[in-house]
Symmetry: C2
Subunit: 352 residues, 2 copies
Amino acid sequence: MTRQIHLGSVQIGGGAPLVIQSMCNTKTSDAEATLAQIRRLADLGCQVIRVALPSLSAVPGLARICAESPLPVVADIHFDARLALEALSAGAHGIRVNPGNLPDLARVREVAEAAARLDRCVRVGVNMGSLSPSAREKYGLTAEAMVASALEYLRIFEDATCRNLKVSLKSSDLRISIEAARRFHSESDWPLHLGITEAGTPMAGTIKSAIGLGVLLLEGIGDTIRVSLTAPPEAEITAAHRILDALGLRPGRPQLVSCPTCGRTRIDLIPIAEAVETEIDRLMSAGKSIVLRKIAVMGCEVNGPGEASDADLGIAGGNGTGVIFKFGKPVRRCPEAELLPALLEEIRAAAK
Amino acid sequence: MTRQIHLGSVQIGGGAPLVIQSMCNTKTSDAEATLAQIRRLADLGCQVIRVALPSLSAVPGLARICAESPLPVVADIHFDARLALEALSAGAHGIRVNPGNLPDLARVREVAEAAARLDRCVRVGVNMGSLSPSAREKYGLTAEAMVASALEYLRIFEDATCRNLKVSLKSSDLRISIEAARRFHSESDWPLHLGITEAGTPMAGTIKSAIGLGVLLLEGIGDTIRVSLTAPPEAEITAAHRILDALGLRPGRPQLVSCPTCGRTRIDLIPIAEAVETEIDRLMSAGKSIVLRKIAVMGCEVNGPGEASDADLGIAGGNGTGVIFKFGKPVRRCPEAELLPALLEEIRAAAK
């Protein structure tokens, strides 16, 4: 169990539900566009937002964003410790600092003292693409190098009595990201922000992130996640939800189990499964919790009755007809055209 | 290391490259339509195909399919051992039998003897939705029940001296599928066919399969895979490739590493990354092998130079310009409009 920290009003770690993050691709100096994007992301279910702070000229924009954002704002800092100090003064709920891009430890100590004094959150964000030269020289491009960088940097923030720290250890290599997170988790109880960096285009990047995050989350490692996609950030939130859905980690969302189609399928299964998924998405977006553990949409007699009877709600299709199951019991047989409306009605009735 | 078996001309297990499978959704009695789908799937990279054999009336269709298919054909058998015997006589390269749906062990022994005599492949395909009543009663809906079913059935085929056996242990629950495969792998050296059954619609099902298969493949477990999607089988092959790509398990395909866009990005990165991916896909589909380990498409100075210099080929974008890296060295700076053509040219030159 990790320690619990806070980032603005959001609790992270220590058994709190997983927190979903993303990063704006607007210019921080354009507060209007950035706030509009943050609001869209918040509506989609993003809980923490990061914005770049590439120069001092963007600080006034950041101040307005922090004041008006519906989500806690993390300023992403590289190369210049003054940017970190200015971000904290401007009201950033958190900052992200990268050991490889801010190597002057005396300056980092000043940042740590300011963060501690203001009770702000700091992410020590290690990335294989920007390791500190000393870690890279000592350990090469390895998981050890990433963990060593994080622990060295963390010590500075701990010594300054910062209480809201988290760590990320990101590589574009799946195996190294997984190894680094496991190692860190076994050595420290600060919360972990998980992500596979530069994972790629929407489909490829989602799959790579799903595997990397999935391996770790199944082991109980990880407190907050970001899916990094070469795509608008809105796509990152959708992908994050799909990954948590697959792991059964979104409270109030049933698992949807649906047959592949094969030569046995006697009903038109694909549109039924898609319509059920769309309805679940719609209800979740509207803030509902669906009081069903598992919904099964099955096409024939091979696994149909078995899966449907293990589900809270299900259909097993036959030849132009199907049987509706509720909590393990067949409740009625009806023609194919009535299956989907009946399923949707039951799902809506279970949404609170 | 598992034993190596053969399914028609395809080697599975014992260090052979992972084999990708799918299942036709045509009627097996319609040999024409089934063969057309098999040819499309083969063109996409499918290596083994399964077809349903729901009744004896489909046997003539199966015989023609087996004779003309470019891929080894597995007949999917449930409920009636005669179907298995007829499939073997009709020339099926393999059969899939399900312990839950073929519980008469005396009849299974006849099937095993025929398979051994003809040197055909048998998949013992256990599914949580159709467990044998005895396993279900003894162990409940658990991974143990699946493994026990498989081992009991395998013994019959081993006793009949079958040499080409493989096993699948599929649940729609990710955790149970993973646990069952790990347990089986620790107790037996027969090759494993991995899949998450009834995984769902294309996006959700791909993500769920990516996690389940990813966890196991990263542990070195799994010899052949099927991604089960509620979608046409063609989509299963694309998804299988994307999963293997993410794991770096497709020989001849470079990893594509590309930045998420953020407020720092100064070039229009998304279309560049997508065009590079499309070109890699095109070359792979044409049967080429690309002699590059990693290609990096990076948007700014934070991780760009680090990732690009670790790649065999890469760009790190600046303000309307970018630097091209080859094997760790910056080779030239060029305007944004020339970056993509230069990258594509290098990729084509590396495709053999």
